[in-house]
């Protein structure tokens, strides 16, 4: 049973069809890379899976929940890192993480572990407003990992991170998938996707135009297999 199953999904931003008939299926334990130019619909697709974007037409199920009927029930089982941090300016790094972990029903030590993993311990008492862009990115990622999620949805997760941060994120994603987790991420950086051995799903103009397996040593298109 796939974790995500989307058929002919149409999503509107105002009257503009940001998704114009997307098909996507993601199995448990997969890393899926959403590729495509700016405005292709990658963020909208991630928001649709997260239940933040209503479905206008087509079908979409995540963890067996039909998103047309219920966009909320599956959210506890996923974590979403978008362009924003979802954090509060006047709370410290530790307070933001603690709130996110507790709200998700995770044990409080998950927040401490996520903080340590993303190198945020020295910044624990610093308010979100005082963080740099890269530090905010680390906080957003730590917030996602502070939840006991089964599905990670990441929108340009490497953006703003330094080399160490990127390597750390890749290691964390590999460990997450090795433990049975599933990852769907968008990125313009093909080298990162290659390092992760992700399955590429290319989106252009709100529709999927191709998919292929990207591996560090070889690229095998689904069409040629």
């Amino acid at each position: 049973m796939p974790v995500v199953s989307i058929r002919q999904a149409v999503c509107l931003l105002g009257r503009f069809p940001a998704l114009a008939g997307v098909d996507l299926e993601v199995d448990a334990g997969e890393i899926v890379w959403l590729a495509g130019p700016n405005g292709a619909g990658k963020t909208t697709l991630l928001r649709l899976i997260a239940g933040l974007q209503p479905l206008h037409r087509g079908t979409a199920t995540v963890f067996d929940f039909d998103l047309e009927r219920d966009r909320r029930s599956h959210r506890r089982r996923l974590a979403f890192v978008g362009h924003e941090t979802f954090a509060y300016d006047d709370l410290s790094v530790a307070e933001n993480l603690d709130f996110a972990a507790r709200a998700a029903g995770s044990a409080p030590d998950r927040a401490v572990e996520a903080r340590r993993r993303f190198g945020l311990d020295p910044l624990a008492a610093v308010r979100h407003a005082g963080l740099s862009a890269g530090q905010r990115r680390r906080l957003a990622l730590a917030t996602a990992f502070a939840r006991d999620a089964e599905l990670l949805l990441l929108d340009e997760p490497h953006a703003g991170l330094d080399a160490d941060g990127r390597a750390l994120l890749d290691d964390t994603l590999r460990a997450f998938v090795a433990n049975g987790g599933t990852v769907v991420f968008s990125s313009h950086e093909s080298d990162r996707a290659t390092l992760l051995g992700a399955r590429e799903v290319r989106i252009v103009g709100g529709v999927v135009v191709g998919a292929e397996r990207v591996a560090p040593t070889e690229r095998v298109t689904e069409a040629s297999r």
């Binding site: 966009r71 979403f80 924003e84 941090t85 979802f86 300016d89 006047d90 709130f99 979100h128």
Partner: protein, 224 residues
């Protein structure tokens, strides 16, 4: 987590933000005091009008201050996509409503204590019927906070949030304003029978507003 635990988590988060930012204490509270002072200047203490209209002026000052508190409560959810974070958190919508309303109510109650002292001092009003003042005050404040959160979330996703909130909240709080003013009038006149009857009416309004908020908030938050 139970609904109450989730609500406490949200309320604690909002109160912690206020403890760090001190917006209500440094901006809303002075605003309420300034409103009281303006009424005093406009109505002239020597004419003897102020003690008579003091309960109404007090609740108008509270209502105007509550608009700022409600706007602030949703402004903190507008930055950095925090509202999406709240939707994704997995928290029950009813718990978010109760938590945010409780945090606003706590802040307003602190403000009301200061304003009430201001009324006693500036408007030359003798403090009487304190039990009614406390019970009616807590109930009316809870109703105002609940209505503020319910209607505040309607405007939360809009660019015109700051100007729309007063238009939405003020008309719907009229019954609370009326009931609380009457309860305070009778309490300060030491006429406790009618004061408790008006307090009962406020209790009914509070129950209805909380029920409506609990039932509707999750859907409103999704559409915000």
């Amino acid at each position: 987590m139970t609904l109450v635990e989730e609500a406490v988590l949200v309320a604690a988060k909002d109160l912690r933000i206020e403890a760090h930012a001190r917006v209500v204490m440094t901006q809303v509270l002075p605003f309420g005091v300034v409103v009281l002072l303006l009424f005093a200047f406009a109505l002239d203490p020597d004419r003897g009008v102020l003690p008579v209209v003091a309960p109404g002026l007090f609740w108008v000052a509270v209502l105007l201050s509550s608009l700022l508190a409600v706007s602030r409560s949703f402004a903190i959810e507008a930055d950095h996509g925090a509202r999406d974070g709240l939707r994704l958190s997995g928290l029950d919508g009813a718990a978010i409503f109760l938590g945010k309303a409780a945090a606003i109510a706590v802040q307003l109650l602190v403000l009301e204590v200061v304003l009430l002292i201001g009324v006693f001092v500036l408007y030359d009003v003798d403090p009487r019927g304190l039990a009614v003042l406390v019970v009616a005050g807590v109930l009316a404040t809870t109703a105002i906070a609940a209505l503020g959160v319910t209607y505040g979330v309607l405007a939360a996703g809009m660019r015109v949030r700051e100007t729309l909130v007063p238009l939405l909240v003020l008309p719907i709080t009229m019954p609370v304003l009326l009931g609380a003013t009457r309860a305070f009038e009778f309490a300060l006149a030491d006429d406790l029978g009618p004061a408790w009857r008006w307090t009962s009416l406020i209790a009914m309004i509070t129950t209805v507003t909380i029920t409506l908020g609990v039932l509707s908030f999750e859907s409103l938050l999704e559409e915000a």
